[in-house]
């Protein structure tokens, strides 16, 4: 058994190493047919009559990259970026001569604007100088704030300054529609397409060498614990003495790895193209489309949750609450966050996760999403409607009956990962009063941020404005996506599992958790009941509370635990050696003033914090 476990561990590590190595071993070539296949799918012609592919080929030729073979992705990606930049510049320059404001027109504007030693800029002038109505309209839109009456210019120089800036803006936007996008999804597509070596030569083999070994190794490591851990029961032996679970150097390595992975995933996913290729067959079989980086992420998510759900089953096999909870949260991830959305795509419906609720799903009310849903007939309308009902009615009503646990540790994907992959790290969440304070400020600020951002977004959506009360809608969305959506929930939220514990995001950052927490704290049947005077203040409950709740401080006073942040994972109850804690939804009155059975009630008055 021990041997199987060892082999499992090494197999798992081998799989991880190969997966990591695979990031770096792609080889690439700018091949003509790939360029055509990738860029001319629609056979769109540019105004000048040429195709994007030809333009891009020309740029590659100019840089003498065409046909060049690359053995490392860093060189290739840097050249790819260079080529795209050049092509985009070329096409703009080329089209400016046709559709842009020409130098002679500019000269005409400069001379026409000077009248009697004054600068007079107005629509009339534009009409005389620019014969093309499209061009004229562009300038009106872009520069009407400079018109006479709006603004005074003392001399030609200051007028020129303003005008040139605008002209550059206008000209450089010309041809945008023919630009090759440098957004993540497109770079992923391009890198995948130009990839000619590495795992692409034998996707099945590489799939086995990475995911295959990881899955086999992970299971071979976890399964023998049925025997090795001994009889069913709480087996936390050694957790505080093992480097990986006790913030030792191994934990820091895991942290570094996870953070690195998330940074790539969020900010430069095309570096992972070789690994994205591995899951193309899976993606094709589900959605009928090749995989993007979010599909890779979804797949990894499901695989890791599955392996670690097996671990949970074994570790808590005496505890039906844990068994049921793990099963349900795993199911919701696999079915609702992975299979159903991919199958929707297969039938040309929007990718939609029915359980993901605003404000966790922060871009639900972004214009692109609303438009996408509303463009999809009854189903899309239903999805939009469902999303609103979910947040406004289902979430609070369920939180009233069951506490936020029904979502956070039975349904949610973030919670699902925390409760499976993150379970080995739950003891590392900080229990200090200070972190409780930080938690309350932080999580409620994120909620406020999400609400403001969404209100601004919705107002903009329905009013058509782009700035509201001085806030630029696009900017605020960008800031939120970057800070909260990527850095907080991903890089820190998951990357820092090994050091800050497995609920860092849920505890300090999740706006949905904050929202449900308010319901749970003030109006819910849910509480953790403490069993009279049985608590021996041992501290197991507090230690293993992933939300950093000092459960013991309530239990030893005989008070019920009614805390906004409790996700009802049930582990405090599981680890308690004296049977003191029980998660309950009930109509019974809550005990908050100490339990007469143990003559202990609210503590030292001098000290309001305790």
């Amino acid at each position: 058994m021990k041997l199987i476990q060892q082999i499992g561990l090494y197999t798992f590590i081998a799989g991880m190493l190969l997966f990591t190595a695979n990031v770096f071993i792609g080889s690439y070539r700018f091949e003509e047919q790939t360029i055509v296949a990738q860029l001319d799918a629609t056979q769109d012609k540019i105004d000048t009559g040429d195709t994007i592919a030809n333009g891009f080929k020309a740029a590659l030729k100019e840089l003498s990259f065409l046909g060049k073979k690359y053995n490392g992705e860093f060189d290739f990606i840097s050249d790819l970026n260079q080529a795209i930049t050049l092509y985009n510049k070329n096409i703009t320059t080329e089209l400016v001569t046709v559709n842009g404001i020409t130098p002679s027109e500019i000269e005409a504007l400069y001379s026409g604007v000077q009248k009697d030693g004054k600068i007079i800029y107005n629509e009339e002038l534009l009409t005389t100088v620019l014969t093309d109505p499209a061009k004229k309209q562009k300038l009106i839109d872009g520069t009407n704030w400079m018109f006479e009456g709006q603004r005074e210019y003392a001399d030609l120089e200051s007028f020129k300054n303003d005008l040139n800036l605008k002209l550059e803006e206008i000209n450089s936007s010309i041809g945008k529609q023919y630009h090759i996008s440098t957004e993540a999804w497109n770079l992923v597509n391009l890198t995948k397409a130009f990839n000619v070596g590495g795992s692409k030569t034998n996707v099945e083999l590489w799939f086995f060498l990475t995911f295959g070994l990881i899955i086999i190794g992970g299971l071979a490591y976890n399964l023998p614990n049925i025997k090795l851990l001994g009889m069913a029961g709480i087996k936390n032996n050694g957790i505080q003495q093992t480097s990986i679970s006790n913030k030792g150097w191994l934990a820091w390595i895991v942290l570094g790895y996870l953070v690195g992975f998330y940074l790539l995933l969020y900010f430069a996913p095309h570096y992972l193209n070789n690994n994205i290729l591995l899951v193309d067959p899976v993606s094709n079989s589900l959605s009928g489309k090749p995989a993007g980086h979010w599909f890779l992420y979804g797949f990894i998510y499901c695989v890791s949750m599955t392996i670690m759900a097996v671990r949970m089953y074994i570790k808590y096999r005496h505890n039906n609450y844990q068994i049921f909870r793990t099963t349900v949260v795993w199911f919701f991830q696999i079915a609702f966050a992975f299979l159903i959305p991919e199958l929707l795509v297969r039938f040309d419906k929007p990718w939609y996760d029915f359980k993901n609720a605003w404000p966790l799903d922060y871009d639900f009310f972004f214009a692109f999403n609303i438009d996408d849903l509303l463009a999809n007939g009854t189903l899309g309308a239903f999805m939009f409607f469902w999303g609103i009902i979910l947040t406004l009615i289902i979430i609070p009503v369920m939180a009233y009956f069951f506490g936020k646990r029904w979502y956070c540790s039975w349904v949610c994907g973030c919670g699902g990962l925390a409760e499976t992959v993150g379970d080995p790290y739950r003891q590392n969440s900080s229990k200090t009063l200070l972190s409780w304070k930080v938690e309350r400020y932080l999580v409620h600020s994120v909620l406020a941020f999400a609400i403001v951002m969404t209100l601004v977004t919705l107002y903009a959506y329905y009013s058509g404005a782009t700035t509201i009360a001085g806030i630029d809608v696009y900017t605020i969305q960008k800031i939120y996506s970057f800070l909260i959506g990527s850095i907080f929930s991903g890089v820190i939220g998951t990357g820092f599992y090994p050091i800050f514990g497995n609920r860092t995001w849920c505890r300090f950052g999740c706006p949905l958790a904050a929202y449900m927490g308010i319901v749970q704290r003030f109006k819910s049947k849910f509480r953790i009941t403490t069993n009279g005077g049985q608590c021996i203040s041992c501290g197991n409950c507090s230690t293993y509370c992933e939300q950093g709740i000092d459960v013991r401080s309530y239990a030893q006073k005989g008070e019920d635990i009614i805390r906004a942040s409790c996700v009802g994972c049930g582990v405090c109850s599981a680890v308690c050696p004296r049977g003191v804690l029980k998660l309950e939804n009930s109509d019974a009155p809550k005990k908050v003033d100490g339990n007469p059975l143990i003559f202990e009630n609210n503590i030292v008055k001098l000290n309001k914090d305790v």
């Binding site: 001994g230 009889m231 069913a232 029961g233 709480i234 936390n236 032996n237 050694g238 957790i239 505080q240 003495q241 093992t242 005496h318 505890n319 039906n320 609450y321 068994i323 049921f324 200090t432 009063l433 009941t529 069993n531 009279g532 005077g533 049985q534 021996i536 203040s537 041992c538 501290g539 197991n540 507090s542 230690t543 013991r552 401080s553 030893q556 049930g570 109850s573 599981a574 680890v575 050696p577 004296r578 049977g579 029980k582 998660l583 309950e584 009930s586 109509d587 019974a588 009155p589 339990n595 059975l597 143990i598 003559f599 202990e600 503590i603 030292v604 008055k605 001098l606 000290n607 305790v610």
Partner: protein, 445 residues
């Protein structure tokens, strides 16, 4: 008048009274204790060795708590008490005066004069130092440990060593494990469970002597049957007794512990004792032992005495007996009294799961059928329910009927009330149907 109250001992008893004194008054409060700078939960020492927790997790209050609440702490050992001058002599040379003195000095492991009992490698399990010693004694691994004394601390120590996979031999003097508390069937169940954990249990076996090896450390023990068992660690867990040696030279009356009345007052005015070190002349509850070495009684005593000092004179009254423990993977709870053998007027009803380690035993009066107590293994029960039922002097039939109200297992656990009630009916020719859980039963006054 503002008192200067000095408490010796920062265990649960000393700390609880300090907290309530602070809550009720602005007296000056000083806790002197030698073992650790801050209060920790002695009950959880095992989990540190097993790696479930670190020592800091055992401290229920963050370190700033004491200063913020104006509870002064001093780490020192009190060598003697001068009750005439109301002053204490500390081992660091300092003298400390008090206006009121509270003794909460806890216990120390029993040693019965076994040859070799002070050798390196031989130890008890009571203090933080004992924990460190065990860590030291096993740091290079051991081939076997022998544990002497079949009580709760003994089985905890066995579990600790088994958690690190060291072979453990467990010597128990009687023919049952913890037979003075547990009925035979339950004791046998626990002993089966020890086998599951590969503990080499030797019943009716006593320690005769401990043999030193060439390095001067314990190398084996010899039993009363003459058998020599090689081992590197010997755990002495044959009970604890009050830790009061330094009190004996003072005017304070002691027997095994510091003698107190129901107000926790000693024979000397302004000197009180509570927690493990106190011994009642006669226990105010009548049905409890005069020395109560358990966690929650230290808390109740602490609050009681603080009330007496700051408010109104209040006698110690711990209410109905209850307790709990965990034997490796089996949780145990008890409410009211269940003795190993029913007394004259008592009858036991016992249900045991045929395969799992689950059991319930209810003790009741066979004449009045009044409920007396319950033991449960592997099933959690609600303290509040039994406390209420004992107060209301409910009959055993009522308990059986409402058993579901008392279930405290986590949600989705399989419940056994139907089986239990069916067995009760068939044994007693009754026809009780278990009532569905009802909150009103529990919480209406």
């Amino acid at each position: 008048m503002k008192e200067k109250i000095v408490i010796i001992g920062n265990g649960i008893a000393g700390v609880t009274i300090a907290r309530y004194l602070r809550k009720y008054s602005n007296h000056e409060i000083l806790i002197i204790s030698s073992e650790t700078p801050y209060f920790f939960s002695r009950t959880a020492l095992m989990y540190v060795y097993m790696g479930h927790m670190k020592f800091e997790h055992l401290q229920p209050y963050e370190n700033w708590f004491w200063e913020k609440n104006k509870i002064d702490l001093k780490q020192a050992f009190v060598q003697s008490i001068d009750t005439n001058n109301k002053s204490l002599q500390l081992d660091n040379g300092e003298q400390v005066n008090y206006t009121k003195l509270i003794l909460a000095t806890g216990s120390k492991p029993n040693k019965f004069g076994w040859p070799g009992q002070d050798l390196p490698g031989v130890q008890g399990l009571y203090s933080k130092q004992d924990l460190d010693t065990l860590e030291e004694n096993t740091k290079n691994g051991i081939n076997r440990a022998v544990i002497i004394g079949g009580g709760l601390i003994g089985i905890e120590m066995a579990e600790m060593l088994r958690a690190r996979n060291y072979p453990v031999t467990f010597l128990v003097r009687e023919n049952l494990f913890w037979g003075n508390v547990l009925p035979k069937e339950e004791s046998e169940m626990i002993m089966r469970h020890m086998k599951d954990h590969h503990i080499d249990l030797r019943l009716k076996t006593e320690l005769k002597e401990i043999i030193a090896g060439a390095d001067g450390k314990a190398k084996s023990i010899i039993t009363n049957h003459g058998e020599e068992i090689p081992c590197q660690v010997v755990g002495l867990t044959a009970g604890v007794s009050p830790n009061i040696d330094f009190v004996k030279s003072s005017n304070i009356d002691t027997k095994r512990g510091i003698l107190v009345n129901e107000y926790l007052e000693t024979n000397i005015p302004d000197v009180y004792a509570l927690g493990d070190c106190a011994e009642f002349h006669q226990h105010p509850s009548g049905d409890r032992r005069n020395i109560e070495q358990i966690w929650y009684t230290g808390k109740i005593m602490g609050k009681t005495l603080a009330t007496t000092i700051c408010k109104t004179k209040t006698a110690y009254n711990p209410g109905h007996w209850f307790n709990s423990a965990k034997f490796m993977d089996i949780e145990y709870q008890t409410y009211g009294w269940v003795f190993p053998k029913p007394k004259e007027n008592e009858k036991h009803f016992s249900w045991m799961h045929p395969t799992k380690y689950l059991s319930v035993r209810i003790c009741y009066d066979k004449n009045t059928s009044a409920f007396i107590g319950i033991n449960t293994f592997g099933i959690r029960m609600r303290h509040q329910a039994f406390d209420k039922w004992l107060n209301e002097k409910r009959s055993v039939d009522y308990i059986i009927e409402h058993l579901k109200d008392a279930n405290f297992d986590p949600e989705f656990y399989k419940q056994y009330e139907n089986e239990i009630v069916a067995q009760f009916n068939s044994e007693n020719d009754t026809n009780i149907t278990p009532k569905k859980r009802n909150w009103k039963n529990l919480f209406s006054a």
